[in-house]
Symmetry: D3
């Protein structure tokens, strides 16, 4: 169960309105790596969890914080829009290019649809999607997904920080940046702990019987491009991070197989085939005629 308190975790009030920035902030509210994503991602990971205790408790604990971040951003966006020019005729004096420029850069649905309110969309107005979430049940994979989400999210917030001079907005962003720092650290610590405890290991999933994979190519770097310096990295020679092999480097594939012949499905799918098959088709349609009529 979730309980709501009409307080914010941190002050979320801008110094002044800024409708273009209100659109930009939508990215970290409703974008691929926005707060709706992490709130629901951690929650679904917890709901689908197969192990009670500390890992699930942490998922619940952080996921619920993120719902509050959604709220801080929605509140901030509504305030950024409050007194901003949003296309209502009198402000949109068409002879004033400064105002026209502002309006051109806004999310017009924030005005027309939400009446100067926040929406569950990204900075291009694409609705948030359930497919932004990752929750596989394998915690080493999922904690890596979470670390990535917090990294991408912090990169975006850092960029947004430089796109405004508003102290109120920057204060909120400085708070979110700090929480992203924390959460990056937490997911990385948790991924490490999973491995130290032996609960999971590399390669993920570690319980899959590794001899069932085609081990001859498990540590070969096959370079399908012509950039020679690709061989210079620690991913092309030396021991592998999973501790089970040695990297080797190869220009191009080490295996190959002939392309299988084209398929010939039932003639009644009306795919184009070579001549002999056309005969089959006629035969087929004759059979069909006999059968059906």
């Amino acid at each position: 169960m979730f309980f709501h308190k009409q307080e914010l975790q941190f002050k979320s009030t801008p110094d002044k309105p800024d409708a273009v920035y209100a659109r930009k902030l939508q990215e970290v509210l409703g974008g691929q790596y926005g707060e709706i994503t992490v709130a629901l991602q951690y929650s679904f990971q917890a709901w689908n969890s197969h192990v009670p205790g500390k890992y699930r408790d942490m998922l619940f604990g952080i996921g619920s914080e993120e719902f509050g971040h959604v709220e801080m951003l929605a509140t901030m966006i509504a305030q950024l829009l409050e007194k901003a020019p949003l296309g209502i005729t009198d402000d949109a004096v068409q002879s004033d290019p400064a105002i026209a420029a502002v309006i051109g850069g806004t999310d017009m649905q924030q005005a027309i649809v939400a009446g100067a309110g926040a929406r569950a969309v990204d900075s291009n107005g694409n609705p948030w999607q359930g497919s932004c979430i990752t929750a596989s049940g394998n915690l080493l994979a999922d904690f890596t997904a979470n670390a990535n989400a917090e990294m991408q999210g912090r990169v975006q917030v850092a960029r947004l920080y430089h796109m405004t001079d508003d102290h109120g907005v920057r204060d909120l962003l400085s708070f979110l940046l700090a929480r992203d720092t924390m959460h990056q650290n937490q997911w990385l610590a948790a991924a490490r702990e999973l491995q130290e405890e032996g609960a999971e290991n590399l390669p993920v999933p570690s319980n899959f019987p590794i001899k069932k994979e085609e081990r001859s190519v498990s540590y070969q770097y096959l370079n399908f491009s012509d950039g020679a310096t690709a061989a210079d990295g620690s991913w092309a020679s030396g021991p592998t991070p999973d501790g089970k092999g040695e990297f080797s480097y190869h220009d191009g594939p080490t295996t190959s197989a002939p392309m299988p012949p084209p398929t010939h499905p039932d003639a009644r799918f009306y795919g184009t085939t070579e001549l002999p098959n056309t005969v089959e088709k006629v035969a087929g349609s004759v059979q069909d005629k006999l059968r059906k009529e």
Copy 2:
């Protein structure tokens, strides 16, 4: 530039048709973590790369291999569908529940739209989307995204391995599992190398002036749920992975702020407001009347 060779990297021919499995395989072809995703993700990361040399060369080298994996899966799917019952009346004898069951589990668009062919969709028939891709320009974030993609992908292939007994299919999957093992190792090695070289560091992005974030909350685990064991992990006490702090544990938030008052945008957005504002609205519409008529 890309050049195509009419050979496959590995044998991709099933022992027998299996239309339901053909649908399942779509997940690792056109799903969130399928081969189209990784092929285009690594390619966009290379095209957007800000640094020449080994990292970009590796991105190109692996990305181009993945396009070939798309091809192997598409070829396999077409063959799995070739002689399978796909709803053409004669096979779909309605009194035979075994065939009806098979047809019920197929992707009907593989039959109706593609004529027994592969499609750029996932196992539920959702079209692949450009939003599956991550390419931020920050390589530590992006290599973490790539490690995650290879982990999620290998988990899915491992599950699919147990959903068939077909030796031809399993052979292909054993090859893909091995390549996922390789690529997991490569991205993790590359992420480590970025940090050892000092090119990037934690927290991502490491170049953002860290004193601009609200450092007081950068290492606090704020548990917004009531699971007490969340404090037992290495994410709740001890040094942080970024080497810059110590974790501390707190039940709930350590900061709070009052909810800002509701916004009052221009009355001509026709949002519902409290009484005094209604008066403003009337005044507004009077002004509007005077102005416009």
Copy 3:
């Protein structure tokens, strides 16, 4: 069957071009509550209707009018774009910020894709989707959906009215506003008539045997937030609109249940589990080995 007449229901010609406004108008053409939505929503409700006569006749009668509204808006948009600067180099003199501002605010696909034409998208360029439609077969639910659609639509048209001074556009909007007034009234009248005739009732669906619902919580307002004034409304005490109960107010839930233990699906899904299950996994993979090899 539908028959088309090359006339419009109302004059739809702007006084002057306005490409930014052409983008805004897309909202009520191809947005969530635009004319494509209501045209197809009422039509699908009619096609799926289970009752002949006045209700279905009304659905067909209004739905068909709405297709004509799609046409009026598409025609208007094409004219708003006709002589407008759309980025063709000569108008887009980059040193003129006024023109640059206009172009920045346009839907670029109206220019690049449609060649200065209307599109089946909303004001942010999101394609219209079949999921905008509601048609459940239950007419009380669906007429409520229709009333909502006409309300949201009229709110949007009212906002758009204030975003232009063009008399031609405003004339069309004044017509659409009037039709939305009519249709709001019609759906509300129809919803009332359904109840007066006893065809449907509250709660929807009224035919579901009400004793099968957990009646103890059917009229309890459980406040999961801490806003105390929530108790002050007619939704927290007094008789309920369905005439079958009395509202009561409660801070938080009146029931609770322990969280069920985490699930343990087949080990071959490779989810992360606690230690004992790891043993099971090993056992499982041994069994698997024996069985498969």
Copy 4:
């Protein structure tokens, strides 16, 4: 801020596994009218609210309860999947049509992607979308949207009730049905209270100066289909629900306007035009040539 408690509002445990039903339940978790929709819809309405006090307090109070409903359904789905056949080879004995039938009816991503877990999608596997939400800032419109959402939702839960015999599932549904009953009543009561207080009125938005709409057609039922009984309803004669007019009935439109002539945008959009314009095109390209070369 949101706080989480590791308890459920109601017991959510099935008697037995049922993977097909787990897919069906996704509809009321992640569908157009599922619990994610109402949780976020009411929350966004609260965050965008322009009026403090009882209405906003109610929005927060109900919205937060709905997040807990998301949790109950996710938990239930994971349990329904726990021991169910999900395509792992040994259960999917292909000679057993009963098991094949079950697998055919499952959401394959619940198995392949989520490892027997719940997902943020509907019963056809379409990801939940931010565009499912309605939050316009006009509370009469939005409360009508909410009443509709609870009606559609309860209709779906009622249908799902008849699609299972599992007592554990039915118990949860009986609880959700009761809460939907409550929330239908609440939104209708709130919509009525808004009007009684004079905060909002019909037609929505009531503050728009009504004389600016084309009043001659505000109460005309224009029947664009040929179903004569459409005139028999209370929507075709008598006083209108907004109390401001009288319905009248008309076969077809009462107004018309000629179709405006086709548009002729800049020739460099390469649209097809009639002959004279072709000449203009040539001229245009000559000018263009002179200008550019």
Copy 5:
């Protein structure tokens, strides 16, 4: 304006219910090449048309017929679902694999969401999208799009014909097949007429000054794959269909250019760069510090 008549163009009643087939038929109702697509595609082409007269009249004339085809299919689907097993418990006797198989193959939203009704989705339950439409304003391109739509559509209907034995369904399909035959012929005739009249020509758009394209590669077949027989077609030698050149065949590209160096955007985007740039970054952040603090 559109006027509706409560008649169908052709009898649309099945002999017996078939819920699985009802799902399949959704493809030609709400799929990429279904009737909603062609109805709206031809209508938008007409609304955006730049030329009055026969071409636009034809677009309107066919587009309006297609709306009636949407209606026939929706009506047919509702009837196919009418008495079909749709998961209501009593029919879904779980011990009967035949019924379970049927239910597994149905569109569950037709039951749960639409109450045994048609929906604006394809056979995999993906909602129809405005992006299915093509309307560029160039009639030669658009008529080619239309010919393609009718070809893809007829292929799908032909496949569906073989997926049922129901005479009522087959009768409707035989009618739709004939209309698709007609419309294929019409769009091809119209495309030819455009060229004979000189209104449009190859290559499309023909008015673009052809000397502005890089003519040296305008008729070279550059084979980027290794299939040698690609040179055997009429697309590799001989005169070109546009009458302006001769095809020539080349193994691979005839031109090339070095890959441009990686980009170095503003350091405050926090992209990863090589070492020298890291120095710039530090400098940048120092400047930034001086400027902002």
Copy 6:
């Protein structure tokens, strides 16, 4: 298999940065008819091909070239963004409307998400989708789809040509225009060759037994609109392109059928029905009660 070479097919470097144009170019990279579409469309057609030899070889040969075009556009876009104002505070001096106008017209996700990089989206920021692809297995239909794709694509590139004065950009476009000219010619030549060889014919699919379609309406132009000049085209009289009939012209339909009566699905779907059925419902629920309790 695909092999990558770190060279471009043609020089792809702009003279100067232009962030607004970078957004526009996304259309031909990631739009409905952009390069990702044709690259994957031709590849899927090849993978699903049922005929070896020249047609499949051509599909592979052109498809692989198109992947290189994706690369040229991505590279160009990254360079257009490199030094452009993208909202970083110092350039976005708010008092300068010229810069504000530029920023307003950019794709904000290119800045916030990709850090000044290209993305797999169109010019409105909609992600590319797998549903942009057409691959039916019938080559006459598919080559017509390909001709259309190259026509729409060339129209868009031609429009984009006039939206910039940048010589570097125009050079790349002149190259793409020439390749589109080539590919239009190739697909049209291939479609003609298919027919000359007798592999396919009109109407598509030509193997469907034509007497099974309702031949009485196969060549009737039924004008459902009132534009009389529709009869003046070669699509309304004279021989049909398929060589099998004569066009005839008719005002409106030549056939009709009564609308079937409304459906009455199981009462437990809770659809609204007329009175007699209400009685059935009660009976049904009584039965249900008896059965279940």
